[in-house]
């Protein structure tokens, strides 16, 4: 009985020793412990608030040649809108040009001198809007806000003028999962995924190249540890550290930012393990091909930056061209974004989690085998 079990416990003792060592290597030193905790927390706090494509606090310029009531009322309505913060009134068309050129305002409205007269006469008055195309996203959104204000005003004017209008369409909206469409509900779960991904990858990418630079790698290779055992011994600590990291970030998200959590923790953690395994595989691969720590760091960067851009975090994947969209399926984080947001906000069913987990599992198998193969190759 004992003889039967001994080989297994022996392997376990060996791998276990390696795991403890790896964790201590990052956790024991005060500086690197700080690097593990402080930057992700700061990033979570800043990024969760900064990364919004929404547009608020808009500055708007007005050049009004019209003395009448209609332009005055229009301006009041704009000032009353929650989106517009600064409304500058200019006396000179040159000032308008300058204000846009210098980005003092993003949009300016020009009321011509006959604006009120035309409206009062029941004719159409043109309202010129000049937008700063250098801020393409903001301009688009601002146009939307202004159009809504104008249409409401139009309807009211017509009513004043005694036109009997059919009742307006009563459009109401309901936003599921995020009633007030708050960005932070989106950014926090996304950042949990991004930051733990970066950590998992960095820790593994550096772990082998650091041992190479310090000369301790030979020491591991002459020990009874088999290459696959070394790989496992490098994987598990990175998994533990990055799962710990994401737990910390989630706790901050849930309690400090009060992000709702609707779904199942079990589903979240099991899919997270698959996701992080895939990233650890990438990290190990980078580690296997790098000679120095500098190469590991820069290599991770060259992988991470495009990943972030194509992940759907910064800009929606639907906006990408059709031919590119299938390629984003190769990025584990794309799938995990769907899962983590789904579980946090939507309580998506296990089946949906599975739909996005198996591609990650395939990627994990691929990256880990690639890393293992590269690793073995470099040992020869």
């Amino acid at each position: 009985m004992i003889a039967f079990f001994q080989p297994y416990s022996l392997i376990w003792t060996r791998i276990n020793a390696l795991i403890i060592k790896e964790i201590l290597a990052v956790w024991r030193d005060k500086k690197s412990r700080l690097m593990l905790i402080a930057p992700p927390l700061i990033q979570l706090i800043i990024l969760s608030h900064a990364a919004t494509l929404d547009v608020y606090n808009i500055s708007l310029g007005i050049y009004n040649e019209d003395q009448g009531w209609y332009s005055h009322e229009m301006i009041q309505r704009i000032k009353g809108s929650p989106y517009f913060k600064n409304v500058y009134e200019f006396r000179n068309p040159k000032d308008v040009v300058r204000a846009i050129n210098t980005q003092q305002v993003i949009v300016s409205l020009q009321f011509q001198s006959n604006f009120s007269r035309l409206i009062a006469a029941g004719e159409t008055a043109q309202l010129q809007m000049t937008l700063d195309g250098r801020k393409s996203n903001a301009s688009q959104i601002v146009t939307g806000y202004l159009n809504t204000i104008i249409q409401d005003f139009n309807r009211d004017i017509l009513t004043y003028q005694g036109v009997r209008l059919p009742e307006p369409l009563d459009i109401e909206y309901r936003s599921f999962f995020n009633p007030n469409i708050e960005y932070i509900l989106f950014t926090v779960p996304s950042l949990v995924a991004i930051l733990s991904m970066m950590l998992a990858q960095m820790v593994t990418a550096l772990s082998v190249s650091r041992e190479r630079e310090n000369g301790t790698f030979d020491q591991l290779l002459v020990s009874p540890l088999q290459p696959w055992q070394i790989l496992i011994g490098k994987m598990i600590p990175a998994m533990i550290i990055s799962i710990g990291e994401s737990t910390l970030l989630m706790v901050v998200g849930l309690f400090l930012f009060e992000i709702p959590f609707e779904g199942s923790l079990l589903l979240l953690y099991s899919s997270m393990i698959v996701f992080l395994l895939a990233m650890v595989g990438v990290g190990l691969f980078i580690s296997a091909i790098s000679h120095t720590q500098q190469q590991s760091i820069l290599g991770s960067f060259v992988f991470m930056t495009p990943t972030m851009l194509l992940s759907g975090y910064a800009t929606p994947i639907e906006n990408m061209p059709h031919w590119l969209q299938p390629f984003t399926n190769l990025l584990p984080i794309k799938h995990f974004f769907i899962i983590i947001k789904g579980i946090f906000l939507k309580n998506i069913p296990a089946y949906e989690v599975w739909v996005h987990t198996w591609p990650m599992a395939l990627i994990a198998i691929f990256t880990l085998s690639l890393a293992g193969w590269m690793f073995k190759r470099r040992l020869e």
Partner: protein
């Protein structure tokens, strides 16, 4: 202000304390170094040698006191000092991604050497270093000895008035070491002042004056002969039967009054205290001329004794006749280059086998193939009958390995390192804990248990590295330049353990550049140009080069002569 012509470097009331350290790294040092000579800087590990050299180079500021280099104060005139000194740091900063020529040129330009003068100086340096054939090679691809020479050449280019060398000969083979020494000797004739820090005491012996530091204090300053005189008439040598030499040494060292003892081939060298009773001296002992190392060990309070607690705890291994390590026609090719060419030998159980050779001759390649870190292109390396490259972890758990540089986990504590290595070698439960505790008590690691291994004094690093390598009681121990840069006392302690273990039937495979260390070997293979050019006991090798001009060759003489005899010498002298 110009200093007195008889003073090159003046160190006055110098104390240097680093923040966070209890004891000063250097305390109240006073010395007046003469121009035009080599002053040796010696002392055990952590004595403050590097700190003193850095202070002289103006890279550190004294806490109190001052240093004047040719009249320039290191604090006030650091830039003038940089104009007149050449400095070679221990970890020499060659740009490994620049070629030999580019490195030299960088230093030449930084020192404002140009035109015809540059040509002359370069010619001289190439001649000096015999680096001419390698000018276009990347510095990173040079062998250790060549790197060291290039480093020295870079420091010498500017024809400095003062040359500061911090352990320039660590890791350099005896041949290159001799050439290096010759280069510096030539400079002395041009009136340059040299400060040479070293842990090779045969070098100190040849210095005109020596500064001996211990724990930040100046123990001795003067000509080395003056220090050596204190052990005059107390140094002896005796012949011993080769198979008993380790036991005899161990026995002798445990006798009171014996200060120091080392193995020199089939002889034992002893230093006795002046109070050692005349009557207990063996008639077979004949008095010999003392050397600096004898006095050094004496002034530092003697060697570490002769017994190894470690070996006492190791059970006897079976010493069957079967060979323990076997190299069968080992060949390794890197592209067109043959690093190891058809190497064969076999090592018996309980034997110390040394692998010697110049830098880049291929001995690391052979060593790595034997312990399974490299795959041979042809041939086979067997350890206890098993090929390590393909063998199971079971087979690998029978070997121990101690790398060239300190390669434990520097950012883990002593305890954590012990835990790690015991675990990796499959110890667990009660026996694991017992083994760890045993190692702690044998190597006296208790005071450092929770310190980072990387911050230990070198001697303790050495102990820890050995502890980690032998914890699982291996049958075969691989040592790659185990005591390079280590002071003589720590080296003796180390070899005590090795000797003790060999007596228990453990096989040792060692590479070294250090002839003192090679003397401990039972047999030596001399590797050169990827080939095994001589195998034999240390005395056999010495004997093979005995001639009229060298009636009493040392092992170093043998090393150099045998290489000179080798016909490949002229063609292939070079690195990997």
């Amino acid at each position: 202000m110009v200093g007195h012509p008889q003073t090159a470097i003046q160190v006055k009331n110098l104390t240097k304390t680093f923040p966070g350290m209890e004891k000063p790294a250097l305390e109240d040092i006073n010395a007046t170094l003469r121009p035009g000579i080599i002053t040796g800087l010696v002392g055990p590990d952590a004595a403050g040698k590097t700190t003193l050299i850095r202070l002289m180079a103006g890279l550190l500021l004294p806490t109190t006191g001052h240093i004047k280099m040719l009249g320039f104060d290191t604090h006030m005139d650091a830039s003038s000092i940089h104009d007149i000194t050449g400095y070679m740091p221990q970890k020499f900063g060659l740009y490994e991604d620049l070629t030999v020529f580019e490195n030299l040129e960088l230093y030449a330009k930084l020192h404002g050497i140009k035109g015809d003068k540059k040509k002359d100086v370069f010619e001289k340096m190439f001649h000096f270093t015999s680096l001419k054939p390698f000018v276009d090679r990347l510095a990173g691809n040079l062998s250790g000895g060549m790197k060291q020479k290039l480093g020295l050449a870079c420091a010498l280019l500017s024809e400095p008035k003062v040359l500061l060398l911090d352990e320039p000969s660590v890791g350099v083979d005896p041949l290159s070491r001799r050439e290096l020494w010759q280069m510096v000797q030539d400079l002395i004739h041009q009136g340059i002042t040299v400060v040479w820090s070293t842990s090779y005491l045969d070098e100190a012996d040849q210095c005109e004056e020596v500064l001996l530091l211990n724990e930040g204090k100046l123990l001795f300053y003067g000509p080395p002969q003056e220090l050596t005189r204190r052990v005059q008439h107390h140094v002896f040598q005796m012949d011993v039967p080769p198979e008993k030499r380790r036991l005899v040494l161990s026995h002798l060292l445990s006798r009171p009054g014996i200060i120091d003892g080392v193995i020199q081939g089939n002889k034992i060298r002893l230093v006795c205290s002046p109070t050692f009773p005349q009557s207990s001296k063996d008639p077979a002992w004949h008095s010999i001329k003392p050397r600096f190392e004898d006095a050094f060990v004496d002034i530092l309070g003697g060697g570490p004794g002769g017994t190894s607690v470690l070996a006492d705890h190791i059970p006897h291994k079976k010493t069957s006749g079967m060979s323990s390590i076997q190299a069968n026609h080992l060949t390794k090719k890197f592209g067109d280059f043959t690093a190891a060419d058809n190497i064969s030998f076999s090592i018996k159980r309980g034997e110390i086998f040394g692998l010697l050779g110049p830098n880049g001759a291929g001995k690391s390649t052979i060593f790595k193939m034997l312990c399974g870190l490299l795959q041979p292109t042809h041939g086979k390396a067997l350890v206890s009958g098993l090929d390590l490259k393909t063998a199971t972890s079971e087979a690998r758990s029978h070997i121990g390995y101690m790398a060239q540089k300190f390669s434990l986990y520097g950012d883990l504590s002593v305890k954590e390192n012990l835990n790690f290595f015991s675990g990796v070698y499959g110890l667990f439960g009660q026996s694991r804990q017992e083994k760890i505790n045993q190692m702690i008590s044998i190597f006296d690691l208790n005071p450092y248990l929770n310190s980072n291994a990387g911050l230990l004094p070198l001697g303790f690093k050495q102990r820890l590295a050995l502890a980690c390598a032998v914890m699982h009681e291996p049958d075969v121990l691989f040592l790659d330049e185990p005591t390079s840069g280590v002071d003589p006392i720590t080296r003796r302690e180390f070899w005590n353990h090795i000797n003790g273990m060999v007596e228990k039937g453990i096989t040792i495979m060692v590479t070294t550049h250090f002839m003192e260390e090679a003397e401990y070997c039972d047999r030596i293979a001399l590797i050169y140009g990827g080939k095994n050019i001589a195998t034999g006991t240390p005395d056999e090798l010495k004997e093979s080069v005995r001639s009229k001009t060298t009636p009493n060759p040392t092992l170093e003489d043998a090393f150099i002569k045998l290489i000179e005899h080798s016909d490949v010498y002229k063609k292939e002298r070079g690195g990997e």
